[in-house]
């Protein structure tokens, strides 16, 4: 696990924001919505294993089996 993923997520966030703005400006609200949703899904795919690790770590620390 490295710090790189934070920058990656930040970059995706910026990109999705810009894309969203461009699509809304040209009158395509539906596509803008889809792009935002796709961005959320992509980021979620990236972090889901890490969230899983966090939860298992919490479980082992407090011994909740």
């Amino acid at each position: 696990m490295s710090i790189d993923i934070i920058f990656k997520i930040a970059a995706i966030g910026i990109l999705v924001t810009v894309l969203n703005q461009i699509l809304i400006r040209s009158g395509r609200e539906e596509q803008a919505m889809m792009v935002t949703l796709a961005g959320v899904v992509v980021v979620l795919m990236m972090v889901i294993t890490m969230i899983n690790n966090l939860f298992t770590a919490v479980k082992t620390i407090f011994q909740l089996y």
Partner: protein, 171 residues
């Protein structure tokens, strides 16, 4: 090293795809405008100079811009080929045969219905046919201008941004 080359390639190709998409809108607008002005020239040739259609098309092909000029040249070649095609048949065949034209289906339909009346009546009826076609084409031109204003910049920036997105996601 290889990674950077790949990134650059992805960026360049997606940018180019965006540019090509946006270029289509520009070209359609230009071709419609060229068709409109050429139809006006053609009706002048018919009513005033009264030269034959194949000569008139040949003349137009020299002055108009490349895409449309190629079409007019094709029409005049078909008319000159001595295979017995009428002007409207030659017009329709040329419309089907000329590749690399950026007009939409509706534009082609208008041009085809215009071609049906081409060269089979007296000058006054021809003038009416030209007027109708140029009115319809003007409408299409307005539509093309609107859609190009809406989509041209969108596709340009969309190409670049999607390239950047792909690069970042696969980094």
């Amino acid at each position: 090293m290889l990674k950077i080359v790949g990134m650059v390639l992805v960026l360049i190709s997606s940018t180019l795809i965006g540019y090509m998409k946006s270029l289509k809108y520009t070209l359609r607008r230009q071709e419609l405008r060229s068709f409109l002005s050429n139809l006006n020239l053609l009706i002048t040739e018919i009513t005033y100079s009264q030269i034959t259609l194949s000569e008139a098309f040949n003349k137009l092909s020299e002055t108009s811009e490349p895409g449309v000029g190629r079409f007019f040249l094709l029409v005049s070649q078909i008319l000159n080929s001595n295979e017995g095609y009428t002007a409207s048949e030659a017009w329709e065949i040329a419309l089907d045969k000329v590749g690399n034209i950026n007009l939409s289906q509706d534009d082609i339909k208008i041009l085809k219905s215009f071609g049906k009346g081409l060269g089979n009546s007296d000058i006054y009826s021809q003038e009416k046919n030209f007027k109708l076609a140029s009115e319809l084409l003007k409408k299409q031109l307005l539509d093309a201008e609107e859609s190009s204003k809406k989509n041209e910049r969108l596709y340009k920036s969309l190409g670049i941004l999607i390239g950047v997105a792909v690069v970042i996601i696969f980094l």
